[in-house]
Amino acid sequence: MIPEIGHYALVLAFALSLIQATVPMVGARNNDATLMGIAGTTALAQFLFVALSFAALIACYVTSDFSVVTTYENSHSAMPLIYKFTSAWGNHEGSMLLWVLILATFGALVALFGGNLPATLKAHVLAVQSWIAAAFFLFILLTSNPFARLPQAPLEGRDLNPLLQDLGLAVHPPLLYLGYVGFSISFSFAIAALIEGRIDAAWARWVRPWTLLAWMFLTVGIAMGSYWAYYELGWGGWWFWDPVENASLMPWLAGTALLHSALVMEKRNALKVWTLLLAILAFSLSLLGTFLVRSGVLTSVHAFATDPLRGVFILAILVFFIGGAFTLFAWRAPLLKQGGLFAPVSREGALVLNNLFLTTACATVLVGTLYPLALEALSGEKISVGAPFFDMTFWPLFVPLLVAMPFGPLLAWKRGDLLGVTQRLFGAFALALVGLAATFVTTGGPILAPFGIGLALFVISGAITDLIERSGIAQHRSVGLASRRLSGLPRSAWGGALAHLGLGITLFGIVCESNWATERIAAMKPNETISLRGYDLTFEGINPRRGPNYIEQVGTFIVRSGGDEIGRLQPSKRSFAARGTATSEAALLTRGVSQLYLSLGEAAADGGVTVRFYHKPLVLLIWLGAVVMFFGGLLSLTDRRLRIGAPKPAQPKAAALAQAAE
């Protein structure tokens, strides 16, 4: 009964989405408030029905109802409850349902908090949002029904892929989808603006919080996935330039560019057409990512051809929305008026530079990801484009961006003073140089490493300089006034500085990990000790242990530093009977923001074992930086000027302070 309720709720949601996709459009055309008002109601109802459908799916998994095909294929009655829960979206059908749930959630949020939007804009945005929803509902109902039943219910399920039996699955896909799908709102706003043929600074102000929200989730979603891969896959890598990773990086790059260009549009009424284009691009890349991951085209062009229905369906959705959006753009964008002149050296100019490098980097990743597929489809030649290619092409585009980053926020709008800004960044330069020299002297390691450290320090201290400059302490020499000005700063100013700081922190972690991570590979016998970077690792022994749905061999190792025991590492090898597969669970020991990482290899008959032991200096900074970026976004989001809901004019006192500080 429950699966049928879920299925039926999904059908109803589809029907509602068709109403929401058409009726408000008619209403907006005829300026009929009643018809336009339907958009909000249907958006909420649609959300409720998708939520009901999703809840039904969760219920099937939690109760281990193996009469449902996907439950049978991806769940097991002995799994811990949390994994029964998360395995609902650990497969194609369930993850698509999660996708539309989040899409409907964003639609409902616009319906709830979009009270300050002009009626026609709100109607158009929700209608466009519902076109996307309708397409994906149809996709799920026709090709990927998560509620399909088996004629006879098997006694036991085939278990979830062991690699996915991890907390990462609970956190990573929902966060990533919140980011991916969140860009649909920016997309819908862009299409609505094109349909109405009107776009102004107010539009940018409405779009920014939604874009920011999506960007925040995508940032932590990617970081979470990276950390998950780092500890789960067992060889300590955290970014592989895998097509699936690239699929999430591309919308992030485009979304980051969009955040910055929307800033120019809001403040200076310039870059309108470009901002629209980026809003379309960011979501198009999200759709492309969904296609790449969900169609199986990545495995090989041939795998795609053997089960073509799903792939072709998503491809059709892709072509319809991306093609349609760009056609509409080409047709209507020339009608939009450009405003706001600025000199090349100005805040706007810096943001244009930011956009140039971000979009080129994004395009590079796109070309690298799709080139092998295109080449194979066209000429049959098979080539690989992997990490060495991306490292060689991505960083040369990203480094100039990072160098320019501290300058941007310090430049004035309209016309900036590059020399003045350079002088104000003197402290940051000095710090970067000291860091560079110190790294060079102490390590003498890879030649690029000191420059990486210098750059990261420059970005970090540049973000701090931004705040110091805004406090005006250099001019007034008064701590009281400076702290008053800082607390009076708009939260978006703090947010921006914090986000830049976060990127600097991530960069610092990346430079340290990729240059100074060390590893030992060894075959160890009980009571044998190996050393790495001052840490002594002693192997105690290996013991079997029984988990809820697996048996594991757990190795016990003691870590000593200077003779004192500082911790125990218990990496294991698990074998899952239901699937006949094995996983290797690495053990981590965190020291400050550095980590010791131990993973287990083959066990020998004599009680010995092979291990891979890593020291990863400052590796946690990579992900902590992303968390800082997230909080920067959150702080911006609480800015009264951007707050979702009714923006009220700032109170005179706060406004005066903010103006003085800017």
Partner: protein
């Protein structure tokens, strides 16, 4: 992100008994040679895996390739000779960094071309935008007279 890759990875685990990337018995005694071997193996694709280098992969084939590569290095091959040898055997598919050739020209040139094209477009757009300001029509004689009149009033 890790999902598809995880699933595919588990498929390769199914295919080959779970082994381990870079086994202790593979490591060469000569540290300089071993460093070269590690660097090289990060450039080579494990042919049965999804976008993994043979350095990362725990598939049996990756192990065979790692051993083969070390044998070539011990025999005195240069890095390029090792790569050429493997390409001759397995095709260009084995290289994670494709060589610059006609069929990869677009791939390698794309970043540079796109950057230049983008910069060009920005310059063009900036020029076009600033043009209306430059070609602001000059005041007509009538307007100038009116302006003078207004200014005279102001000063008097």
């Amino acid at each position: 992100m890790g999902r598809l890759r995880a699933i595919l990875l588990s498929l390769t685990l199914l295919a080959a008994a779970p082994a381990f990337a870079v086994q202790p018995d593979e490591v060469l005694p000569d540290p300089a040679l071993e460093t070269r071997a590690r660097a090289l193996s990060q450039e080579l694709r494990c042919l049965v895996c999804q976008n993994q280098s043979i350095d990362d992969s725990d598939a049996q084939l990756a192990r065979d390739l790692r051993i083969l590569l070390r044998e070539r290095l011990k025999a005195g091959d240069s890095d390029q000779q090792v790569l050429d040898f493997l390409v001759a055997r397995y095709g260009e598919f084995v290289l994670l960094r494709p060589p610059l050739a006609w069929h990869t020209a677009l791939l390698w040139l794309a970043p540079g071309l796109l950057l230049v094209a983008g910069a060009f477009a920005i310059v063009l757009a900036a020029r076009r935008r600033s043009k209306p300001v430059l070609t602001e029509p000059a005041l007509t004689a009538q307007e100038r007279a009116r302006l003078r009149q207004l200014m005279d009033q102001e000063s008097s």
